[in-house]
């Protein structure tokens, strides 16, 4: 019994009617970017046809409509993640830009040589490279929380790692392993040693009920395109006091209150951090995506993903036994729906290539997590990830295509 009527959901996604290489499209790469329901496409189209104008500038009717819709989207995002106030949600291009905003604005005005930042071995490059850049530029020390052989964070040495650290930057859910990290205890430990916490919530906001207030985190970054929305927009949530105290990130229109030949004053939140014309149409699409997920109910989304992941793990193990290695926790209740694996003797790219022949889309490669791949000791894995529009038939199509890959490459 699924908590979601997947057949009905599938019907809402026009792209899922596509045929690839003579096979119906089986899309198993939502962890990279999700597909869009018709409601999102229509909302964006409707804006362009009826109310498109730049926001916060014109006094004419459609400019006011566009501005109101844009701010309504911000309010929807805030509500969706349990943020106390919409003005704490800063629209960015994506999660990567949100993390860079923190690295440039907060970290560069608060961290000096010798300060430490704690990361984990399961971070995406988006939550690694900005800190490496800072380390190079400022002589900031990076410390790494290791992972255990069960693919979860090894918290034994956490307090030591956090000693005198200024920031803990941690993913809420790994895009490679699927591992879901329990954020509140991490935040407690970090706050107890005086460090702030940035949560990369890219892989959790689309799949789990999110409550940034309950997390008690300081910064939270995520992207619209992984949650049925368009690419080109994401958000940073942070507590007002932090945002008020931070210097602006990019300079330009919208982020100012006044400009003279010798200086400027910044606009109030959230616009202080939104220089230039934002992704207006995309914000409206994001709102529609949130409406879609809220209609399904995030508890139902989660229940569906646990059930489909359980089926996928079980079916892969039953069919490939010791010929498959799955990199991630076995317990579907402790993980998200991204399933990374290697078939014995077959490179991940060759697997994807054969799967494509059957219309099955999976990701192959390092998944922008090279430090993690080094820890795992593999150059690349295949990754199937499941979302609201995937059902057991999709898993079966994956298994059958994988069997063909085995046949094709049989030694």
């Amino acid at each position: 019994m699924s908590s979601i009527d997947v057949a009905r959901v599938k019907a809402d996604f026009p792209i899922l009617k596509r045929v690839v290489n003579g096979h119906p499209l089986v899309f198993l790469d939502s962890a990279a970017s999700a597909q869009k329901p018709i409601g999102v496409l229509e909302a964006m189209d409707r804006l362009a046809r009826e109310s498109y104008a730049n926001v916060h500038r014109g006094v004419y009717t459609i400019a006011e409509e566009a501005s109101a819709k844009f701010e309504a989207s911000r309010a929807a995002v805030a509500r969706f993640i349990g943020a106390p106030a919409p003005h704490e949600v800063i629209f960015t291009r994506n999660a990567t830009e949100a993390i860079n905003l923190v690295a440039y604005s907060w970290a560069r005005s608060n961290l000096v040589e010798g300060d430490a930042i704690v990361l984990t071995e399961m971070e995406h490059h988006a939550n690694v490279v900005p800190w490496l850049m800072l380390a190079e530029e400022r002589g900031v020390e990076l410390r790494w929380v290791p992972i255990t052989s069960d693919f979860v964070l090894d918290l034994d040495g956490l307090d030591e790692l956090l000693h005198n650290a200024k920031l803990l930057a941690v993913t809420a859910s790994s895009n490679v392993l699927g591992t879901i990290n329990d954020i509140p205890p991490l935040v407690q430990a970090a706050h107890a040693s005086g460090a702030l916490v940035l949560v990369d919530a890219c892989q959790s906001v689309p799949h789990l009920v999110t409550d940034v207030t309950a997390w008690d985190a300081d910064f939270v970054a995520f992207s619209a395109h992984k949650m049925l929305g368009p690419s080109g927009i994401g958000a940073l949530w942070a507590r007002s006091e932090l945002l008020e105290a931070m210097p602006p990130f990019l300079g330009g229109g919208e982020m100012i209150r006044d400009v003279t030949k010798t200086g400027f004053t910044t606009n109030e939140l959230p616009w202080k951090f939104e220089a230039g014309t934002p992704a207006i149409t995309e914000a409206i699409g994001w709102h529609a995506a949130i409406d879609y997920l809220e209609d399904l109910g995030m508890d139902n989304v989660r229940a569906h993903e646990v059930s489909i992941t359980d089926y996928a793990l079980g079916t892969l193990e039953a069919n490939f036994e010791d010929r498959i290695t799955i990199y991630g926790p076995r317990d579907p209740a402790a993980r998200g729906s991204a399933v990374s694996f290697l078939l014995q003797e077959i490179h991940a790219h060759d697997v994807s290539q054969v799967l494509d022949e059957y219309g099955v889309c999976v990701r192959a490669g390092h998944h922008c997590a090279k430090p993690l791949m080094r820890v795992l000791g593999v150059p690349a894995t295949s990754r199937a990830s499941f979302y609201i529009y995937n059902d057991e038939d999709d898993v079966d199509a994956l298994v059958s295509a994988l069997k063909n890959a085995e046949k094709f490459f049989a030694i």
Binding site: D350, E357, A380
Partner: protein
């Protein structure tokens, strides 16, 4: 399966399953050269013995997808015993084999330069890799060995 069979010709799978010239050579006198494809983690390591303008021996190590590893194995068989001039010509011809089709796809170039590159060069088994050009993301897998070879030759000469 026709597309797939075009990409994974039997001879390619054979080189992938039973790569030729695997191993290492003592450095020096051999030159070691390494190539990476950062996108997929393919890695090619070459050991080259160049004596009097001739590639007298070469060994390969590394790991990666079937196309990169088969291409490396086929390259090693093709260049062993050849003069550096011949190897460079072969490399140009192989790259032309990859890009003739690229430029045809783009509908540009009449291909006359490329024909020059191919003139008088016998690619032999290497022609089996032609199918790769229909899968643009895999061209890098096929050319990795040859670019790594060029690096090694530059160092050895």
């Amino acid at each position: 399966m026709s597309g797939l069979e075009d990409l994974y010709r039997e001879i390619i799978l054979d080189h992938y399953r039973a790569p030729r010239n695997r191993g290492e050579l003592p450095v020096p006198p051999a030159v070691k050269s390494e190539g990476f494809n950062p996108l997929c983690g393919d890695e090619v390591v070459l050991y080259l013995d160049v004596d009097d303008g001739v590639v007298t021996d070469l060994k390969i190590a590394g790991q990666g997808c079937s196309i990169s590893q088969a291409s490396t194995s086929m390259m090693s068989a093709a260049v062993k015993g050849k003069t550096i001039a011949e190897v460079r010509q072969l490399t140009r011809a192989f790259k032309a084999l990859m890009s003739i089709h690229e430029s045809k796809l783009e509908g540009e170039q009449d291909g006359s330069d490329l024909e020059d590159d191919l003139k008088g060069v016998r690619l032999g088994d290497l022609e089996a890799l032609q199918g790769v050009v229909k899968f643009p993301v895999r061209i890098k897998c096929a050319t990795l060995a040859w670019n790594t070879l060029l690096q090694g030759l530059d160092e050895a000469t």
